[in-house]
Subunit: 155 residues, 2 copies
DNA sequence: GATGAAATAGCATTTGC
DNA sequence: GCAAATGCTATTTCATC
């Protein structure tokens, strides 16, 4: 599953995770390769899927979503059909920013954003009616450590 | 807190969250503005802090981190001094990809990556010795819904 | 098999409107 | 916000180690 990465790849990954808003020439200087070589490396990293995408990360509050909550979900039933219905509901709700199946005390962990309490409640209600048996809501108060790059450096 | 955003800003934010790996000219065509105008808009979005940064998002497993876990933490003590020590420990551990103070059943929600079980355990032990009273670990099994853009479109 | 250097086309960015 | 202009950059090609 893991892709083979040499030293230069690791530096590129580190830098691109930190700040992808740079010219290829800057990157080239950074890693000590020619622009052409750097371009090839980066293309390969994208094609191999190690780099999934380049995206803008927003400040949720400034973008109009002052409420951010972790929602942990226990499903009422675990048959594939029930799960499928729940999955569809999750994917259809734009306020759900990410969702993962997990192993542990609960079944699914969600990250939900909302413009106000009413919108949040709407999401929670819909989850309840689409297969969630128990919902636990954790209101995000403050960032302790911001979204950080994967520590791809050699150990 | 929220920044004033008009229709064009919202389109730009939507597109940049989806794929920031495009030329300014492409973006301009997309929103129907001149390249210069588009550049100004994007610059303003970055300066205002709505756009925090442009980053590469990696596939954790392909980047060498097959283990990803949510770790919920209850602190042993809640005095500022104890919290500070815990915060420092969290910020110092590169395997902790993000961390948020939350309100609810627990105090802090972490996202942790590791190359193997030993590395994960090392993180958990360190958290325990730095103020965590109770740790609950949720192993991420499978992505139900991938990291998605904030739904900034007008309602 | 990947890198570097050179060349071209296209882009980012500025200025004046 | 637009249009035009300039200086750089992305990207290709080809030679090279």
């Amino acid at each position: 599953m893991a892709v083979k990465l040499d030293e230069v790849d690791l530096i590129l990954l580190r830098e691109l995770q930190e700040d992808a808003d740079r010219t290829n020439v800057d990157l080239a200087r950074l890693v000590g390769l020619s622009p052409a070589g750097t371009l090839n490396r980066v293309r390969r990293l994208k094609e191999s899927g190690v780099v999934r995408r380049i995206t803008a990360r927003l400040d949720p509050a400034k973008a109009g979503f002052p409420l951010q909550v972790y929602v942990s979900v226990t499903l009422a039933r675990h048959e594939p059909r029930a799960s499928k219905g729940f999955e569809d509901a999750v994917r259809a709700m734009p306020q759900i920013i990410s969702a993962d199946w997990v192993a542990g005390e609960i079944d699914v962990m969600l990250l939900v954003v909302a413009r106000d309490v009413a919108e949040l409640q709407q999401v929670l209600v819909r989850l309840s009616t689409r297969g969630a048996q128990r919902l636990t809501t954790l209101l995000r108060l403050e960032e302790l450590k911001p979204a950080s790059p994967l520590p791809v450096a050699p150990r």
